[in-house]
């Protein structure tokens, strides 16, 4: 099948408007005859479910947590971008579009990104109307901050809990529709397969996580907003339950999986402290507005710190290496994430890491505390030279901006970041890859849509900070509800979809067999045992720096691990009860397949771009020496993989990317 991105014709700024004017609509009376399933209640799924219900469709929504409000979007910290230009610093739709395409290292589809920028401003209007309490200035207007990879302040925020506030906004919109009976909510339900009837997605199979019951649900279309797959690395900033199962089942039913190897390793996370660790905690990128990143200049100081003989606060300014400011003077501490992560790895690999494991750098707020403190002293007419006072006032400002993050840090690390610099290190955070979708957000299976982090659409090979929240809400509130109508317009006379067909039967049978296998298998090792092993392979060989040897080994190691898993996995308990090990087993089984495709994709992409860094493709000389080397001649395409029975046999389809509105250039943040 050839890939048709269905990008509308015409100038980029008119495409979305023209498209909306030309697609089919379903009239309000007919919408009542149509059912839509939405899997996931994060920003993408939650906003889509609410909007579809409000338009009049009958929505069934699913999540595996005990309430839609607990979807992983709740954990997003720093902010959401929108081209409002409230700060009057020259922002515009074009600039947001340009920054996103450049930040993504020229591997995203121009038309989708432009649309995202175009609808972004409206997201903020919508959220404020819903009662989302964004941060405000004293005059009562909305405040903004800056995120990496851009030169304007366009990020809206609610302290360090922006995702929480936005998700509660979408949740409240859902609640209104649940109360009206337009959304039927299924909490603690896990989707375990997509059902395709006559070539169209017509339903899903779920397991009730409380009773173990296997259920069939039918609809005229199925929307997946099931989030990202970063947990293939075991350790990531994702929630424990985040998984690839919904997307992977869709893949096995015919949806192509795009760019699986594009993963974001976030530069500012709390470093790993030991083998017991179950997850990693992000320290929001917003901290790079005020925090400066450094390691000691002298290796003797590094040694002294590791041995506890020296404190970071005792190292003089001239003996510190603010390596981002040194290497990237134009963007400094606010370079994009992939660049900042690699730079941290470079320093730590060179031996300058500042904790016992050698894998940590400092994120220091001392100069910001002094700067804010002086400003406050000045405003209040107090003594700007009173160091203790300035520090106290400065710390108060920092507290209002990042209080919850500082508290999280202190609880985990047991050090006070107001007094001593934070220690941070890169960790897996976000997956740019995902189900391939066209301009309408439809996958290669008709009637099956993917939104939010589950699709691949807008961020190319690297996502800019504060853009995932924007994308999730854009997809759910403003894009999908229109584009899905074009498809559903053909279904107004179809009538309810029966769950008695052979396709439902077959899908349910597969699900049951797999569950029976797990609870009956007499294996030796827990699910986590395999998940941790997979994570180690992924991190060491498919992580921040990749090469042919490592990737080739990873592929065969994952395959071997998968075989061992199917022989030796041990799942206690029964199928007909609350059984978390059983749920985990299914998720890890899918990660073990995805992991291999991920490595295969990374091996095939013989270039470095964004989060995908190949050690064999770097600039050898000139100003950009050591930076990633992209190959636009051969790799300016989306790699969309078709399932063929085994990850190793997956077939590659290419969507060539055309750049008409932005000139393809080497990314420079110098």
């Amino acid at each position: 099948m050839s890939l048709d991105s269905k990008v509308p014709k015409g100038p980029i700024a008119d495409k979305w408007t023209n498209h909306k004017n030309n697609i089919n609509l379903v009239n309000p009376a007919n919408k009542r005859l149509i059912d839509v399933i939405v899997v996931g209640t994060g920003l993408a799924g939650g906003s889509a479910a609410a909007t579809l219900a409000e338009l009049g469709y009958n929505v069934k929504a699913f999540c595996f947590q005990d309430s839609p409000r607990r979807a992983h979007s709740i954990a997003a910290q720093g902010g959401i971008n929108a081209a409002k230009n409230y700060q009057g610093d020259g922002d515009s739709n074009y600039r947001l579009f340009y920054d996103t395409v450049k930040g993504g290292d020229y591997r995203s589809r121009e038309a989708n990104v432009y649309r995202l920028a175009e609808v972004s401003a409206n997201i903020i209007d919508q959220c404020v109307a819903q009662g989302v309490p964004f941060a405000r200035e004293y005059g009562g207007l909305l405040d903004n901050r800056s995120f990496g990879g851009v030169l304007v302040s366009r990020t809206f925020y609610a302290a360090g809990q922006t995702g929480q506030q936005l998700l509660l906004g979408a949740y409240s919109a859902m609640n209104r529709q649940i109360g009206r009976g337009k959304i039927k909510m299924y909490n603690r339900h896990e989707m375990l397969d997509v059902v395709v009837v006559d070539g169209k997605a017509r339903g899903i199979i779920t397991r009730n996580l409380v009773t173990g019951e296997i259920e069939r649900h039918s609809a005229h279309a199925v929307v997946l907003g099931s989030g990202g797959y970063g947990n293939v690395f075991f350790l990531s900033t994702n929630a424990m339950g985040s998984n690839v199962t919904a997307a992977w089942k869709a893949h096995k039913r015919g949806a192509y999986f795009a760019n699986p190897c594009y993963t974001q390793i976030h530069p500012t996370c709390i470093p790993v402290s030991g083998d017991h660790q179950s997850k990693l905690t992000l320290m929001s990128e917003s901290l790079r507005n005020d925090g400066r990143i450094w390691v000691p200049k002298n290796i003797e100081d590094v040694k002294a710190i590791r041995e506890g003989r020296l404190k970071p606060t005792e190292i003089a300014e001239e003996n510190r290496d603010y390596y981002l400011e040194r290497r990237y003077p134009a963007f400094g501490n606010l370079v994009p994430r992939d660049v900042a992560s690699r730079a941290a790895k470079e320093r730590c690999d060179a031996g300058y890491g500042v904790n016992a494991t050698g894998e940590a750098v400092y994120l220091d707020f001392a100069s910001a505390i002094t700067r804010y403190g002086k400003e406050q002293a000045h405003v209040k007419g107090l003594d700007e030279n009173d160091a203790a006072l300035v520090k106290k006032l400065g710390q108060e400002v920092i507290k209002t901006k990042y209080g919850n993050l500082f508290q999280m840090y202190e609880k985990i690390v047991d050090q006070n970041p107001y007094e001593t610099p934070m220690m941070i290190y890169p960790a897996v955070h976000y997956t740019m890859g995902g189900l391939w979708v066209d301009y309408n957000l439809q996958t290669t299976v008709p009637g099956l849509y993917a939104i939010g982090e589950a699709n691949f659409s807008d961020h190319g090979a690297n996502r800019l900070g504060a853009s995932a929240l924007m994308q999730g809400l854009a997809d759910g509130y403003f894009v999908l509800p229109y584009t899905i109508g074009d498809y559903l317009a053909d279904d107004i006379r179809t009538g309810p979809i029966s769950t008695e067909s052979k396709e439902f039967e077959e899908a349910e049978k597969n699900v049951r067999e797999r569950i029976e296998f797990f609870v009956n298998n007499e294996g030796k090792h827990s699910v986590d045992y395999f998940h941790k092993k997979l994570g180690k392979i992924m991190w060491n060989k498919v992580g921040m720096a990749r090469n042919v040897k490592g990737l080739t080994e990873a592929i065969s190691e994952i395959k071997a691990l998968r075989e061992e898993f199917w022989k030796e996995v041990k799942v206690p308990g029964t199928a007909n009860e609350f059984n978390e090990e059983l749920a985990k087993a299914g998720r890890v089984a899918d990660f073990l397949e995805l992991g291999e495709l991920f490595a295969k994709d990374a091996l095939h992409r013989e270039e470095s771009c964004g989060g995908h860094f190949r050690e064999d493709f770097v600039e050898e000389s000139g100003e950009q020496k050591g930076e990633a080397k992209r190959d636009d001649e051969n790799f300016a395409y989306v790699a969309a993989w078709e399932y063929k029975g085994q990850p190793s046999e997956a077939q590659l389809h290419k969507e060539e990317l055309e750049f008409n509105d932005i000139e393809l250039k080497q990314r420079s943040y110098k």
């Binding site: 607990r70 819903q130 609640n175 030991g274 997850k279 509130y477 609350f578």
Partner: protein, 248 residues
Amino acid sequence: MNLTLKIWRQKNANDKGKMVDYQVSDISPDMSFLEMLDVLNEQLINKGEEPVAFDHDCREGICGMCSLYINGEAHGPDRGVTTCQLHMRMFKDGDTIFIEPFRAKAFPVIKDLVVDRSAFDRIQHAGGFISVNTSGNTIDANAIPVNKHDADDAFSAATCIGCGACVASCKNSSAMLFVGAKVSQFALLPQGQVEATDRVMNMVKQMDEEGFGNCTNTGACEVECPKGISLENIARMNSEYLKASLKG
């Protein structure tokens, strides 16, 4: 550290349930409380026993999923944290730790330490929203300035994670802090004013129907709330309720 754990085990909603003793050893003070339970569960699985069921997801104090009653306190002995943020450095070698589910009539046990908090969702269905369509056809976000003080207070109220610790800590199993936080968030914002009367009446009615108890101003909820939601929110809800009742 070596510890003795006394954990509530209950097969399902109909089972009577009982406390069971377990031993764990070599616990690092840097572990989180849930990572300590992971160690116990790995041990149980390897012995062929059923692991202890507990709710958790984000493990960073924001999703509100984790919900343990530890040594007689919701979310354990530390202040301003959820169970998943509690670290083992709060305990000593040789300690005995009691671990129970959040108990309340409105939160029936599903299994072991997992409870059903869907009553909270139903209270929100009754009125925890502003009736604005999500079409995007609304006024510019900066069209109505909001006093920073009110916006900050609305935000503080909105940081409630819906964990239910307030209910579990209250001798009457009252949900007033949770409901008060939501009512306050909207009451403090101009956008929330239009439906203020209906909202507070409907949410309180649903709260009562779910079987939560009355508030007798003991204040245990505020002490145990991991997000520092203050009693002022209950006072604000009471005054909103009074205003609404007077309007009829």
